[in-house]
């Protein structure tokens, strides 16, 4: 009896903590992505806010050494690169001029200039300060948060292509899920043949291109870009390149293996697109429930 009495509080504590963890997971999953709890505040936000400068401080000596070495190595063939780039620039300038002439001739340049403003999304440069502490999830911590205008659901890109999506924000930092994560799926198309499929992360440095209709024109070396159909990422962002195509056999769908356009091992700086896609805007509207009327009126404005 005494032993039972001694064990009861401990059992209650274990059950309580386990129940809390399970409920937290269910709530985290059931709530719409970007529900109010994704905007961390209080002690949880403070942990994320503290993490960014601490991780920056820890990685500073490594960064310094790595950058010094990289710059030294890149200096060795800078002259050759410079010559090559100058030649390429001349070719591209000539091509650009010809295209402009063609557009002016067809009368489309003015119209393009008019609609350009609609497609220009403000970008926020941000530094990558840390990666996911668990090897089984692929997310990164960036040093820009809500006070810089970053919100959950905003796409993150680099100069090479699509990086991921902001999932959690605090005042001065944000967490972004990479396209490599096993929970990530992006609607993509082959740039050359316009064949559609889903780019799914595998948790490794490669991705899968799934649900491609049998007979679709997919070849090794093809570039996959975002289709914009999911309403999460804008159309036309480079995602990956096809490295192998599976034999569909008798299956209706075929798949391909992709390598991301972004070298995630060397990723240092990213850009947060400060505009959410229409799907994300709808999903995250819940966090501004009080302002729904205002948002609706804003959307209906010409």
């Amino acid at each position: 009896m005494a032993e039972f009495r001694n064990r009861t509080p401990m059992t209650a504590l274990v059950v309580g903590l386990v129940a809390f963890a399970i409920v937290a997971m269910v709530v985290d999953r059931r709530s719409a992505p970007g529900g109010p709890e994704r905007e961390l505040s209080g002690w949880s936000g403070a942990v994320l806010d503290i993490a960014a400068p601490v991780q920056k401080m820890i990685s500073f000596p490594f960064d310094l050494t790595q950058n010094a070495w990289r710059h030294y190595v890149s200096l060795l063939d800078a002259s050759d690169n410079n010559e090559g780039l100058r030649a390429r620039l001349a070719v591209l300038e000539e091509e650009n001029l010809q295209l402009r002439e063609a557009l002016i001739a067809s009368g489309r340049l003015e119209r393009i200039a008019e609609i350009r403003a609609d497609f220009e999304v403000p970008m926020l440069p941000s530094e990558l300060v840390g990666v996911d502490p668990s090897p089984w999830f692929r997310s990164v911590l960036i040093d820009r948060g809500r006070e810089h205008g970053v919100r959950s659901g905003m796409p993150v890109i680099s100069e090479h292509g699509l990086v991921g999506l902001v999932t959690t924000t605090s005042v001065r930092a944000a967490k972004a899920m990479l396209v490599l994560d096993r929970q990530s799926a992006v609607d993509g198309i082959i740039q050359r043949s316009r064949s559609r499929g889903i780019v799914r992360g595998r948790g490794t440095s490669e991705m899968d291109f799934e649900f491609v209709a049998r007979g679709s024109d997919v070849r090794i070396g093809d570039v996959v870009i975002s289709s914009g159909l999911g309403g999460v990422y804008p159309k036309g962002i480079r995602i990956a390149e096809v490295v192998s195509v599976s034999d569909p056999g008798t299956a209706l769908m075929q798949s391909a293996k992709l390598v991301p356009a972004v070298d995630f091992g060397r990723l240092e700086q990213v850009f947060v697109m400060l505009r959410r896609g229409p799907t994300m805007e709808l999903l995250y509207a819940g966090e501004q429930a009080g302002d729904l009327g205002v948002m609706a009126s804003e959307r209906s404005e010409p």
Partner: protein, 179 residues
């Protein structure tokens, strides 16, 4: 109290350090500092309830910094603490090899549990060949660092106890002199 606060601070720093190191080295080749800390608590911490709450809090902090579901690391850290505690009572986990073997097995179990929980609660593909391939080096690295990790927690726990005890003595001495 100081012991708990100090370990909580170290536990908060552990995933941050790991996240910073992860930008240079693939994480499968890094020891899971959070897991080693919790195993150390399970093997050395006197109060089971205190260690359990501390482990749960360390898991919660890891959840905040990770892309996992909120509560996932917390659940796994509770399990790791419980497993370490239970096994230390039934088995001899004092040597280098038993500790390393125990941590390797625990890494395998917690990784499989991570895959299962992710596929159950989220849209992940569960445990697959890729995950198992990455698990092998990660489990071995964790095993290799396990004796050192547990030793560090042990020493830290003793040192912090002595600090607490030292302060108590300092407070008591003047009273003795006055009486």
């Amino acid at each position: 109290m100081k012991r708990i606060l100090a370990l909580l601070a170290i536990g908060t720093l552990a995933p941050m350090i790991q996240g910073a190191i992860g930008t240079f080295i693939p994480l499968r080749y890094c020891p899971d500092l959070g897991l080693l800390l919790v195993v150390g608590l399970g093997l050395c911490w006197r109060s089971a309830a205190g260690g359990l709450v501390l482990s749960a809090m360390l898991g919660l902090i890891a959840d905040l910094l990770s892309g996992s579901l909120f509560g996932q690391h917390m659940l796994l850290r509770i399990f790791a603490f419980g497993a370490a505690r239970a096994c230390s009572q039934k088995l001899n986990l004092r040597g280098l090899l038993p500790r390393a073997t125990f941590v390797i097995l625990l890494t395998v179990v917690t990784t499989v549990a991570t895959g299962v929980l992710t596929s159950f609660f989220a849209a992940g593909p569960g445990v697959d060949g890729e995950m198992l391939r990455e698990l092998v080096p990660h489990a071995l690295i964790n095993g290799a660092f396990a004796p050192l990790g547990v030793w560090c927690v042990e020493r830290m726990s003793i040192w912090l106890s002595e600090v607490d005890a030292g302060h108590q003595l300092l407070q008591l001495q003047p009273r003795n002199r006055l009486t």
